[in-house]
Subunit: 262 residues, 2 copies
């Protein structure tokens, strides 16, 4: 989720997240570590409960030593869904990186438990995370800083508040380093649901921007100096709205209501 | 290999690399993509041949379109060892990232083919690669830039010319983002051989510096501003010389001539 998802009048994204976690049977672990506000976790617990989740609890990891709490680890191991809130993604990686909490989330996801997040909580999910960067449409050397995330997939690099904060330049700069991954830029109130076959489906009022650099012909990233515009040729770009899909294996985009074509 | 490995009077590192690749039966694919010099690849071909390799060939990938050359891919698929030269690691990731060459190297390594490199060629091997950064002993926010590498392992972050270029600060800064990986700082003329059980063994005239941040108690990375010194507590550090070992799974360091202790 790209941040600022609708929580009141039309909460389709949160409702769909609850549904994939098991609906009335779900037990959702909320991890508010990215946020410095005291009530972020409890706010999502109330939201999930009001919207029909079976159970939800906020695991308030604030320091690295919290990661060893057995009661929270037990809840996490039994959870049918995990949700990471917004805030600063570096708080999640510095506080939970290399701990049993990170291992438990990876193991759960590998056996099919949905793991989602909004804003910083979306950025942290992939192996290569955009830690911070500058706005602007043109990729420039040094405008983006990557850090290791939770590592649920290395197929995507995720960016959020995408249109609202003019971030296509930094997503392109991230892919210029190494074009093997797919860039996924999430608008606010918009989510990318990735299924077990690595097909992304769009949900929400905005769009996701998919940047496929696997056929890039040339990039000047290796010779660019700090602040230089980066030359990149041969990038494929897709803007997908509600119901649109992108197959991360076959790299095929399908508009809403159509069938995938090879 | 941390760069500047002895090629003349005492080439123990290159000899050991040839030995693990099969010695007189070896076929070594040299990839000089990091270098902008014309003779880097052929120089290593001559060196490997003189030092007893069965065969060696330089695959001169200079543009992304070169990655499709069938004769070079065929050589790479049959190789019993792959060697990446020094230069600029971002040339390797921008030119070979996401291509059949990168996939073939990963597949070969997964079935047991040794893949090694010196300097930039060492940095590129891991999932999280130090792309560039600044010197200095103290970790500071923004002093290191990470990029996705070849992804043969995500257990280590590799730095090179380690003592010679005063790089412990940038290695600590890289681990401050997310302490799950182990930092391996390679001095010049020094190599870390990682075996199939993920045990590192040191070879060469210098040392390797192992930074284990898995027990870090606190880091201020998430709240540091550009250029600020980063507070990090509870890091374990080992300096290992020829014959010293480090078990990447159990995180145990063993001095030369000793047996591992739990």
């Amino acid at each position: 989720m790209g941040g600022a998802e609708d929580k009141d009048s039309n909460p389709v994204i949160l409702e769909r997240f609850i549904a994939v976690c098991g609906g009335a049977e779900s037990r959702i672990a909320v991890i508010p570590t990215a946020s410095r506000l005291d009530d972020t976790g409890e706010r999502y617990v109330r939201l999930f409960t009001e919207l029909g989740a079976g159970h939800a609890a906020s695991l308030e990891y604030k320091e690295r030593e919290d990661a060893a709490r057995p009661d929270w680890l037990a809840y996490l191991r039994e959870a049918t869904g995990v949700f990471l809130t917004g805030g600063n993604q570096l708080r999640i990686s510095t506080i939970l990186g290399g701990t049993d909490v990170a291992r438990t989330i990876r193991t759960a996801n590998a056996r099919g438990v949905p793991v989602g997040g909004t804003s910083a909580g979306a950025a942290i999910l992939s192996e290569h995370m955009i830690a911070f960067g500058r706005s602007g449409a043109t990729p420039r050397a040094g405008m983006v800083s990557l850090a290791p995330g939770l590592g649920l997939t290395n197929r995507v690099v995720i960016d959020q508040h995408f249109r609202q904060r003019d971030r296509i330049g930094r997503l392109l700069a991230a892919l210029a380093y190494n074009p093997f991954a797919v860039g996924v830029g999430l608008d606010e109130d918009t989510a990318a649901f990735i299924n077990a076959d690595d097909v992304v489906e769009v949900c929400g009022s905005g769009a996701i921007t998919v940047v496929d650099a696997s056929h890039i012909e040339h990039s000047s990233m290796d010779e660019a100096s700090e602040g230089d515009s980066i030359c990149m040729t041969g990038i494929r770009l897709h803007v997908l709205t509600e119901g649109g899909r992108f197959d991360l294996h076959r790299r095929i985009a399908t508009p809403p209501g159509r069938e995938p074509v090879d």
